[in-house]
Symmetry: C2
Subunit: 335 residues, 2 copies
């Protein structure tokens, strides 16, 4: 089952329509989730002599923002009579799809890498989804998911490169708009495939046309940064490993890149060392546990605080699904 | 400087007036804090086959609800010309008073036990307050604080047994009322001196007259439970230690007890073992770090889940200021 996009393909972006779709997505999303808090962090305020507001998506019932896109995309599928879905995911999207299937009374099969963190695997299974493993080095998760669908009536729920998924992620922007009484200067978004930045960025740019949208990525996996610089989708060199297991997308999505480019997004990156420092900082200051991928936004601020001097900055804390031994290791190694 | 109470003393409780004072306190509190989230916990839902909503006060900028009472009581003092305050505190009230002093441009001296957790001491000092230590076993913190005030114009900000403090803590109830779309059956409140239960309980009983208010205390320190049973303030036996450093009040407050009794509050208690299990559960399910005292509400639910069967339950997560080695130890010992 192939779904067709309601949008024109290619470079023509109808931002107003996406904003309306994001607003419409809120009812599908907020039926099963509550607003995540926008938390103040006095230490970061002092660091940039401005205001930092942290959007704590790690406090979603699934531990990440991915629940938003899954709930919206799957509500549409459910309404059109679909019962079965397949998703490929490094973890958080799989948990989101499993949770949405549980809420919407659908059946989900999640294709996950064999090195998926145990905390993520346990959450997927506890929500009643089926799990299929693949080898990150040797197999194509897309091919496996497509093969799974070929013999069934199942639809693939894409992790980011899909208009419904993007509209769902954009509901985070609706909440930020409601929660923030001031006009933000910058939005730092933890970025893998670019769907979170595309949805949330589009919504917030509607109300704050001067807002700088900045994708935050691990060093060596900064394909958005590189793509924005050359003006077309490019794969990162990725010669190094990264502890950010959720952000190892090799290049920006096709749709998401066009949207982010339209929004004049810029890119930043940060090292694993700074990711560990960010995880430790957020734990010590707020008592909130972040997975490495969820700390990349704060890590990017720590990399160049002077870039945000005296600004009002919103940073996503995108996820918190981390095994405790890896969390402890990161905090112990943090400098 | 002794403040006089605007309320009649003794057993005559004017709940309507307290509700109005709580509503009025919101402007003093919300000027410097944002709403804490009410978080769903699917695992706990399944345990009681009902709905559990966790009010995450550990996500306050100070890591606990105590900021509410401090901001309200000290805003009143500030308006009447006071500049200096003294507080005695096992930690979280001291952080709240230090934070409020920082916000309101006042000077604070905090009298703390010599075994105060390092995380709490560091937060008090980083907010610019002066610190005086006392020996929990041998000295009276009230006597020290009174002596400190005798030679100055400073006012004591009481941790719980004070109408302004109670009204400030009650602002948590205003948020719960806004955030909850259903009628709750029970409210489980982490309880030391009883101010949080008195304020939040009074506000919520105004809108949900059938609500059961339940104070949650450590085993051996369940002075509220025992006082409710005999109908008058009684000290707990307290022959055992407890890891809940914030809840070692020997008996209910004078004012708070009358208010809680008026609200027909009941008491529950839980062991340190269950507190550790609750800390581990909230960390694994939500990625939120609780101090032992902040986990006693969830621990009480775990102690008797059948008591809450098919109910809608609100539980406070009252604080998250815990040293990381003590946190790790608790999670490792959890069974």
């Amino acid at each position: 089952v192939i779904r067709t996009s309601p949008y024109p393909s290619g470079a023509s972006i109808d931002s107003e329509r996406l904003v309306l779709d994001i607003e419409a997505a809120c009812s599908n999303v907020h039926r099963y989730t509550s607003h995540t808090p926008l938390i103040r962090a006095p230490y970061l305020d002092r660091l940039i002599r401005g205001e930092v507001h942290l959007k704590a998506e790690c406090l979603q019932p699934t531990g990440s923002f991915k629940i938003r896109g899954a709930l919206h995309a799957m509500s549409q599928l459910r309404a059109s009579g679909q019962q079965d879905v397949v998703a490929f995911s490094s973890g958080n999207h799989g948990i989101g799809v499993a949770y949405a299937a549980h809420c919407l009374n659908m059946r989900a099969t999640i294709v996950v890498p064999s090195d998926i963190p145990r905390a993520k695997l346990a959450k997927i299974r506890s929500l009643g989804a089926d799990v299929v493993f693949y080898d990150r080095e040797r197999e194509s998760r897309e091919a496996i998911a497509t093969a799974l669908c070929a013999h069934t009536e199942a639809s693939i729920v894409k992790p980011y490169d899909d208009w419904d998924t993007i509209a769902g992620q954009g509901t985070c922007g609706v909440e930020i708009k409601e929660q923030l009484s001031l006009t933000p200067d910058s939005l730092l978004v933890c970025t893998g495939g670019g769907g979170f930045a595309a949805g949330t960025g589009t919504y917030l740019r509607r109300y704050y046309p001067e807002l700088s949208i900045i994708t935050a990525e691990p060093e060596g996996w900064d394909d958005h940064l590189q793509s924005f610089q050359v003006g077309k989708r490019s794969a990162a060199a990725a010669t190094t490993a990264s502890i950010c297991d959720g952000l190892l997308a090799p290049e920006p999505g096709e749709i998401t890149f066009v949207v982010n480019q339209h929004n004049r997004a810029q890119g930043m990156s940060a090292s694993d060392d700074l990711v560990r420092r960010a995880m430790k900082l957020i734990w010590e200051q707020l008592g909130v546990g972040l997975e490495p991928s969820g700390a990349i936004g704060v890590a990017s601020l720590l990399a160049q605080p002077e870039r945000f001097s005296e600004q009002i900055v919103v940073i996503t804390l995108s996820g918190g699904n981390v095994d405790r031994d890896r969390f402890d290791e990161a905090l112990n190694l943090a400098r």
